[in-house]
């Protein structure tokens, strides 16, 4: 059965308190972020149904929102998701080369996950780091001024993080 941890349930209550009485649907986006974090990095249908129940709304209200926003994953992803920006300002500073480098280094195409389940490569549109291009989002943070060497060290960092935490 799907159930948030005690900590997340407390967090949900805190989120509810931000809105006036009866406007709890507003909590949907923040609660989906929590759910994605807690239930494996993506939103499976039972997870979305659970969120609907928690908020007292119909499942379709959750599905239509989850599929609209690009940060919610509708299928499983690797442990580390490289989201590389490819919009104009990043392109001017060589994001195409960075994307190609990651592809060859990890042996995957855009949208794929490495067989060991560690890395997923996604391309995204402008993340608001144009002055620090090329860049990618990795988890909560941005990795900026990317070069092939920097990509190598990020991959190493992820591998050793994963080895320590397994």
């Amino acid at each position: 059965m799907i159930q948030f941890s005690e900590k997340s349930l407390n967090e949900v209550q805190k989120i509810f308190a931000r809105y006036p009485e009866g406007k709890q649907k507003s909590a949907l986006l923040p609660v989906l972020h929590l759910a994605q974090e807690e239930f494996g990095g993506w939103l499976d249908v039972p997870v979305m149904d659970y969120v609907a129940e928690l908020l007292g709304i119909t499942p379709i209200e959750v599905y239509e929102v989850a599929t609209f926003y690009s940060m919610y994953n509708m299928k499983p992803v690797g442990k580390f998701v490289f989201e590389v920006c490819q919009t104009g300002p990043c392109m001017l500073r060589g994001s195409d080369d960075i994307i190609n480098y990651i592809k060859s280094k990890l042996g995957i195409s855009v949208g794929e996950t490495t067989p060991d389940g560690l890395f997923t490569l996604k391309v995204v549109e402008c993340l608001g780091a144009c002055g620090y291009a090329p860049m990618m989002q990795l988890g909560k943070h941005f990795r900026e001024h990317l070069t092939p060497e920097k990509v190598d060290s990020i991959i190493e960092e992820c591998r050793s993080f994963s080895a320590i935490n397994n």
């Binding site: 507003s26 986006l29 239509e64």
Partner: protein, 449 residues
Amino acid sequence: MSTKLLLDKANIEGIRFYKAYRENGGYAAVEKAFKMTPTEIVEEVKKSGLRGRGGAGFPTGMKWSFLAKPEGVPRYLVCNADESEPGTFKDRYLMEFLPHLLIEGLIISSFALGSNRTYIYIRGEYAWIPDILEHAIEEAKQNGWLGKNILGTGFDCEIYVQRGAGAYICGEETALIESLEGKRGNPRIKPPFPAIKGLWESPTVVNNVETLAAIVPIFNIGGEEYAKIGVGKSTGTKLISACGNINKPGVYEIDMTISVEEFVYSDEYCGGIPNGKRLKACIPGGSSVPILPANLLFKTAKGETRLMNYESLSDGGFATGSMMGSGGFIVLDEDQCIVRHTLTLARFYHHESCGQCSPCREGTGWMKRVLYNLEYGKGKLSDIDLLWDIQRRIEGNTICPLGDAAAWPVAAAIRHFRDEFEWHVLNPEESQVRNFGLAHYADAREVMV
């Protein structure tokens, strides 16, 4: 000499935290404003001439004065921190390094508008910033600037941070409100405007981060003094986020009297183009505004020096001018391909179209596919006219401005760089191995001497 009103304290150690912020004059503007009535505050903002810094440039004081005030109905202020316009990263800088400046501006603005619950809607990708903002809010609360009965005025206010989840469209104020209500970011049909029916059907004002931060210096120095900075209807200072092919990308505060040329070449700002390359083109106000070739960037079509302000950047209309927009300043050097660059922008708008209106939903994808063919040597000359036709049929035919924002970059690229598009068609193989280059879009600096 440049006037700094927003970033003047950015380099003070610990300014991100309450102690240093307060010791350096922080929250003095709240003290001043709370001695005034809400109506007087709105008048002061009107006097300052402050215009919305998100892109539209609408006078802030006027926007505030439109807010409906029916008895017994709550009113809301929402801070638009959904910064997503390619080339724009100024609000991120403010929130990351000067969170108390935004919170201080929000307190004054909430008081003026009567908003007891104020929301900061921040784009989901800025995932580390809500912690910074929430910490600043907590500090402000502990020191009596938020919560119940602030400064004994009887005014209660709480500020909450809400994260989006990846959608450019939520920067449009009615889409933002929908999203804040827990829905898809589909813009609403206006009227009713948010000032009458906004968040949860209540009167709502949505303002950009930089606009709300600018409220602080307005009350520190007074609206009239603020209006003396700058030129004409471009009062005060503006943050410009500069990126692309320049030596010093970053966020700069300018008073709106400096020339575009100075901004590009001065070491105080962009520091020129790297590797001795020449300037080819520039998008001065975020990806939606028209791109200008170098020869129209530094001088207007009338031969006047072009300045970094609302009026001068739009001098000549779309035929020979552009817009101030959000202040996202994107520079392209001589090695850049206009077709490829336009393709990335078309792809962006197609990705971000909410799909509500057919001209935008279908047109953005169509433009992307045609541009893809042109870029990859599979285009026809008639495709250029087709592109022109598609963009013309999107513009003005959609509920929200995303349609226009998608149409303008394509239109401007064809308007000014048509021969580069033609070259791609006529030289399909060559265009795959080299770029068109500078051709006759001479670097304006070289033309002048």
